[in-house]
Subunit: 472 residues, 4 copies
Amino acid sequence: MLNEINFDKLKEECGVVGVYHGNRSEEVAKSLYYGLYALQHRGQESAGIATNDGLHTQFHKEMGLVPEVFNEAVFKRLKGHIGIGHVRYSTTGDSNVVNAQPLVVRYRGGNIALAHNGNLINAAKLRDRLEESGVVFQTTIDTEVIVNLIARFSSDGIVNAIERTMELIKGAYALVVMTEDYLIGVRDPFGLRPLCLGKLENGYVLASESCALDVIGAEFVRDVEPGEIIAISKEGLETRQVQVKNRRASCIFEYIYFARPDSIIDGTSVYEARKNAGRILAKEHPVDADLVIAVPDTSIPAAIGYAEASGIPFGEGLIKNRYVGRTFIQPEQKLRETAVRLKLNSLRYNVSGKRIVMIDDSIVRGTTSKQIVNSLRTAGAKEVHLRISSPPVAYSCHFGIDTPNRTQLIGAVNTVEQIRKTIGADSLGYISTEGLIESVGKPAEHHCLACFSGDYPMEVPTVGNKKVFERL
Amino acid sequence: MLNEINFDKLKEECGVVGVYHGNRSEEVAKSLYYGLYALQHRGQESAGIATNDGLHTQFHKEMGLVPEVFNEAVFKRLKGHIGIGHVRYSTTGDSNVVNAQPLVVRYRGGNIALAHNGNLINAAKLRDRLEESGVVFQTTIDTEVIVNLIARFSSDGIVNAIERTMELIKGAYALVVMTEDYLIGVRDPFGLRPLCLGKLENGYVLASESCALDVIGAEFVRDVEPGEIIAISKEGLETRQVQVKNRRASCIFEYIYFARPDSIIDGTSVYEARKNAGRILAKEHPVDADLVIAVPDTSIPAAIGYAEASGIPFGEGLIKNRYVGRTFIQPEQKLRETAVRLKLNSLRYNVSGKRIVMIDDSIVRGTTSKQIVNSLRTAGAKEVHLRISSPPVAYSCHFGIDTPNRTQLIGAVNTVEQIRKTIGADSLGYISTEGLIESVGKPAEHHCLACFSGDYPMEVPTVGNKKVFERL
Amino acid sequence: MLNEINFDKLKEECGVVGVYHGNRSEEVAKSLYYGLYALQHRGQESAGIATNDGLHTQFHKEMGLVPEVFNEAVFKRLKGHIGIGHVRYSTTGDSNVVNAQPLVVRYRGGNIALAHNGNLINAAKLRDRLEESGVVFQTTIDTEVIVNLIARFSSDGIVNAIERTMELIKGAYALVVMTEDYLIGVRDPFGLRPLCLGKLENGYVLASESCALDVIGAEFVRDVEPGEIIAISKEGLETRQVQVKNRRASCIFEYIYFARPDSIIDGTSVYEARKNAGRILAKEHPVDADLVIAVPDTSIPAAIGYAEASGIPFGEGLIKNRYVGRTFIQPEQKLRETAVRLKLNSLRYNVSGKRIVMIDDSIVRGTTSKQIVNSLRTAGAKEVHLRISSPPVAYSCHFGIDTPNRTQLIGAVNTVEQIRKTIGADSLGYISTEGLIESVGKPAEHHCLACFSGDYPMEVPTVGNKKVFERL
Amino acid sequence: MLNEINFDKLKEECGVVGVYHGNRSEEVAKSLYYGLYALQHRGQESAGIATNDGLHTQFHKEMGLVPEVFNEAVFKRLKGHIGIGHVRYSTTGDSNVVNAQPLVVRYRGGNIALAHNGNLINAAKLRDRLEESGVVFQTTIDTEVIVNLIARFSSDGIVNAIERTMELIKGAYALVVMTEDYLIGVRDPFGLRPLCLGKLENGYVLASESCALDVIGAEFVRDVEPGEIIAISKEGLETRQVQVKNRRASCIFEYIYFARPDSIIDGTSVYEARKNAGRILAKEHPVDADLVIAVPDTSIPAAIGYAEASGIPFGEGLIKNRYVGRTFIQPEQKLRETAVRLKLNSLRYNVSGKRIVMIDDSIVRGTTSKQIVNSLRTAGAKEVHLRISSPPVAYSCHFGIDTPNRTQLIGAVNTVEQIRKTIGADSLGYISTEGLIESVGKPAEHHCLACFSGDYPMEVPTVGNKKVFERL
């Protein structure tokens, strides 16, 4: 039950970061460490860093959180002025250190390290083709397909090799690539997953989110463009636009839930988008109530927005236990009902006798929402009106987000009224897709909205899931 | 620098919990575990649980957080329908598992287990006297003095023994005591440290804070009174009022910072007191500004209160990294300035170009405040007005709170204007002592305010500190 | 089954060591560490060291082997020129770090640390009496009784206090005691457990066995006499003979199995005694055979002795896997028979077609012997003649050795012929008690032989066992 | 200094094992575990097991000893009736879990797992060629080259693919290979590294040494022949002799030091060979002395042989501490001299006043020998005559043994008399090469003797060492 609180959210699968120092005597490993720490919300399964000093490549990757994986002894080995890092999310079953990233390989031109956020939809086909030509695979991650393709095309130089690889791979990818000479950032032609560029006094940083730049002390420059390759070397920064699509498809869930509120993605503040969504939600689903509360922490901006737009005061209604971590002893049946309060306890003082508007960013299965509504009622709430700052999630993601099977998506198989009943709220309102788009401030064609609409930006396999190739 | 963010707060030293099940076949260990989990904010150094089934006493205690210390194998050993638990705060230097609690001893009447939140001011004297009569001490904690006294007086029964012990010990103590027959709760005659009573269907719970009752599923009954002994046994609940003082001295810092906002202490909601303090602060120190922000998480209620009273909108201005834990690799000099952002990053979108009122609950040394103000300015804040929801901390605590030496207390040795300059804020306002008292809603005689005034509720040793007896 | 190989031996319960440096600037901790390492065979459950520099006492103790318990960080804390150390054997059930030694307590005179090898037979009675006078106990070890008595008598000085304590305690004890001024060694009046004295250039060493002196670089001086207190301080070495008995009762099993062969105990080389036992066994139980082998490692000297006296060549017949440690995954039923070979494999080349004399030092339950005999036959041995260099173990030890219940002692409930049949040997011969005594070279009155004869050197409790007081 | 005792031996680099059960419902993982446990002396750095049930392949590998790497949770995953295992030796610097084996890859035909003992001398060249055709490498082990070649040739079936691979690879290799259908054992055409075949009731076992068969309960069948491929599948056992050389080159150091004495390699008992070497040494280098002792444990058979042939009695002279493990706190300068005794203490009783013949199996650097000789003299030995059961090691190995640089090999740069002086022995005698060959009982052409003679069985690279390709 406790775990379900965490479980009932979509999960980002990865975060990437890269640092290039023009001054070869400057070490990048600790900057990468801070960057990964800032991106920890994008993946808690494994962490890894690879660095090189122009000659030798070193890497370290392990299962665990960033502060668990790295220590001073490891940093002594991780020498060099170029480096990349990766955090990966823990999905059940396939957690294995061989799947941790960055993937570091030796190829004819030297060493290449690659870290990947996203998911390819044609990896199986490419893999089969490579296997037919004699290639062996040691992992079950798409990244190994990408690195094999780059290596094959490498006689023309790394940047050309990446360009040729992009002609073959389909899907979502934000990549950071390292060679002895280069730090390279790549974003897929639809811009599905985010990647941005920062500037150091004498170098560059690439990161999934701008909050990592802040920690490293880099100045935000701009987002990497869809289909763009940014190659940084001692010659400076070189950019190449390799594929141009007539639309973008940036994942809108980054604004709703995944990204940190202090990040700016594709020019829009995540915080602002969330607050706007709250404001719009207040207009789309007004209600007569006494207090607006958030399911902490991600829904706070939307709750503040809702409060501002509705004139209903904002307050805290649910107190989060800051010490509830990943390990937890399952309660006996008898304690199940109360144990949910271990993580999230209702603030009786604030909710008792009141009509509550509770803002949440999304509902996936609905189990947690039901528990929280129930907990608020036990604490004396007179009414609980649930407002969701995203439309119902009804379709699986094929682009790097861990979504449950459609049959488990409460929004896929139920009407809003059915959901309301299941959850036990007095009323339930989802923001409209138009409202959500408006909250980000860009045209609809800018985004991938497939998890709401099923309208994928490219053809997707009908039965594929990310483990289909894990015959290992 | 990172560590200073944590460091610049006063630290609660302990949390206690006890459970008694009338039905002897019901196990208490997991309830204690959940209770300790809810009290984890009161101590992160060590955790322990002792239980008994009427015949055999078992215990387990270790350095570490609650989920690290306990596992299913441990629970298999911790049998019984009576039990107590303890979490302890990590002070530097003296962390040793022999000092972990509960302290479990065998005495002539059987076994006794004791968990203690607080600090005795005459422990040294009592210890000396006991040593003179041949007693040896194996730990450096006051609890061992208390348990020795109880054992000595035990021929008249455990409750009488506790009463006689209370005649000798001076200082702050909230105790939970377990024997083969009893679960007993005791609160010192001034009521310095909190302790409350809850009811299970067929049993009782004692806990430092009511938030632990919520998690265990117990109904809040009332606070234990100053000088009260509550003894629970198969005969039911028996209470004895053993010492009556003409005043109380409940620690007001529980409301300001220590306790969880969802706890109710001595009849007042912690959340309410904090929000009231914000409202009063707005009246005492108004300012013309654009946004009220909190230093997360404890200052949020006061910030909301300030916003409501002042009419200035509340918003988030500082984003906390939820994954920054206890271990952290020190940044190199070059990264020092930015690494503070790893824990607390300014939300540029919300603060840029604005006049900010930043609410914090207290300033101890002032180092962290300075960094945060600086970080807000870098993020574009036009003005930063600091408002503190407690008066300047100027005196050390002798009653169970870890305070730095007076010379390190910025409020002890500086005027408010000097502090403002040091921190670099545009203005600085502390709530008045009267305002703080008003925020809790009880008369001044109800509280210990010594950390602000130096006016201790009893005579305190002039050079004593909690390590003075650690000759071991 | 695997574990039974280890299990089927009597187990020493502890080893102790103490170091005193005349030069106060010399640290003793590492010498203690090496000493404990050399005594590791006497206890693998927990290890501990306490040191002091004349003012401050420090200690560290934990469950685990010596190299697991200590590290450089611990040594930085363990300052001082006086110190004691302890290793403890792992009995099932009662392993708990609170029972680890040295026991360090604060008493009216300062700090006292005590490490104990042995077992008191009147601890329960003394404990009851102390409890009646109000003393509480935190552990289940006899050592806590001893330290309480010493503290009570301490007004006359530590040495007198120990003398008075010795008047009260009965049983086996080799003690090392440390105060801010003294390192003291004590051996019980019967000399049941060993303790010897060594000399450093500018200091002294006390240890359970002389092999620890070799590692520390101390010169062997002599054994501590039964009933002797040796007190080392800045005044030098002072000795006091406090109780004189008309007989000694040194544990003869130290020679048979417990002690290391390179130790000298009470003037006799352990190696020599074992080899003598083998020689005598050859005379008492001759047999016509082709090869004498040992159950490695302890029985090798006796096997060499048997070979020399009988003229039958000595050779290896069982190869021990040097990597089999404490943890081991239990084999499935099917592999049970072969898995014994994981620890001890028969050397087919040497045993095939031969008549084998196999020397073992003792048989406790007999289960392992049966497996080994069977394994030798599978490897082709024509005959297996088992010779045991100790008489049948038939009585429990009350003086610090972990013996199974009499009903489990194969020697207590069976004739030699019955044992032979159970084990499946072609013949079986135990050394006679007289032969064993002759092997050590001292009169019978010098030894405790109670595990063979039931003739205890003092009256022992009829149902007592070492866990009887563990009501905790 | 302590570490040098271990360090001053050549180190075997790996051990392999494979199990095939005809009955698909029988699990092989635990048999592999026992087999690896028995081969632990061949590698203590990492351990790994891969299994399959005909459909799915699972593997687990980690740094650490066999009992540390595996546990019941791991065994639950390792399903299947076919499996292979590997232990690897810890060389400094390049210990990384990505280099652990078995190497498991997916290729066009399914999954293939491979474990390798040995070293290729043309791996770099093959690697370069593969890289030129676009292959990427993720590890620094030769095994990855082999598995890539097999995959490339796999269209003709796995056995043919292995045969074609053997045409390309040069050097030492004993391989166990697993697919969904096959367990395959391969030995290089010179038979440099050992591999043998055992029979289960309904299956087969392959292992580096026969001692692993004993533990698994398999009956020894025969050694795999040089250049032989043994393929086990549901069709039974199929064998193919793919390359025939006019000589063999089995590593003679397996008999001298690496293998366990209870193993039989290429028809010769390792124990017998060692004992023979001792006998021959006695004839080649007789000396008038009182006692023959061994440096435990490997030199015991040779010492017994020497004793038998010379008529001088065999006895123990050096006592090994069975608890000295891999971790050890370095002694301070002052304790250096004595700390060697922590691992190996001289048995004063046996050596004092005597003329000692000390048998050791080899001298690599000579540092340890010097310490031991010195320790024996301190213990009173009148004379110390050192006899070595192998000729001077003077050349590096290119076939899977970790040898120091020639300049560090005391036998490469010194005369025997110089070595004797350095070590401080009264006399020093090495067995002759002829004597060593005689001890094994096979013609000289059967063995690789290159570490003594520099006469390698094939052309070796002049500057190559095993890390030359570790550009990662």
